[in-house]
Symmetry: C2
Subunit: 147 residues, 2 copies
DNA sequence: TGACTTGTAATCAAATTAAATACATGATCG
DNA sequence: CGATCATGTATTTAATTTGATTACAAGTCA
């Protein structure tokens, strides 16, 4: 099991839109960079748009960020592309036996722990912004010896 | 997407073995409480045994915990049943375009963030033991008005 | 108008999960 | 010793999910 790549692709899209802001960034161009097809990119862009993270207009190439990259956290992206629902990172077996002390209580006993674990993971994502990712990319690039 | 219920079922199994320690706990009995089939229970028990969390012997009904329940964390169970591999909670799109600044750097730039998020979630699981779950079950039970 | 774009629906193949079945092997007891 | 019950494992099946693909409607603009 793994969390859908829609999330990391979403981050890729946002970072590239910003780094390529002098040019028009089409879904075709993004798809090439991500190495997938433009349909998937448009689907994800639709979700990012709905969440108010980017601005795109039908028929017009060139998406823009709707906010400063330092105001977009990875958690915002994660929520926007809807990869994990609230309290649903972990699966619980349903219809455990009511006649058993564990069966009738395990759900309520373990759920708070699972929630806390999920929230802790999400909190980490909230501490990092698209700007941080962009800066890291640019810094790696400058240190790489590339011209 | 969600993390396999093998994890929460594993916790259920351990808690029930301990709470039922005066009797012999068979995979059949456990399957009834979890509401699944004995085969799945045995598969998970095999993993718990391999990880040194329980003691089971072929042909003999009655599994026992191999350690004190206060020495078994939910993280131990999570690792034992192998639901999420190290650094693989999140998916990354493979073969991003090397000719693009984002394509050639995004993997290395985002991976540390994803690792940190996963580790943070796992750390939370490490803070809770089977004993904590058992206590909570017993406490809920006593507060429920059940005789 | 024609070329290019976004938006969206529908279909398809691959991978994963848990359920189910079958059977070999070990233990126990009459 | 042989019947019964247990664990250990392999295999198959059905359901679900993911991403790839195809198709096409509708917007933009030279």
């Amino acid at each position: 099991m793994a969390i859908s790549s829609r999330f990391t692709v979403g981050v890729h899209i946002l970072a590239l839109i910003e780094l390529n802001k002098e040019e028009k960034t089409s879904s075709e161009f993004l798809a090439g960079s991500v190495n997938t097809n433009p349909t998937l990119i448009r689907k994800i862009m639709g979700m990012l748009k709905k969440a108010g993270l980017i601005e795109v207009q039908p028929g017009i190439a060139g998406a823009k960020l709707a906010k400063s990259p330092s105001d977009i956290s990875l958690l915002d992206v994660y929520k926007a592309v809807d990869v994990v629902h609230e309290n649903e990172l972990f699966s619980l077996h349903e219809n455990t036996l009511y006649e058993c002390i564990v069966g009738r209580n395990i759900h309520d006993s373990i759920s708070p722990v699972l929630s806390a674990a999920q929230l802790s993971m999400e909190k980490e994502l909230g501490n990092v912004t698209i700007q941080d990712i962009i800066q890291d990319i640019v810094q790696k690039e400058s240190g790489s010896g590339n011209p």
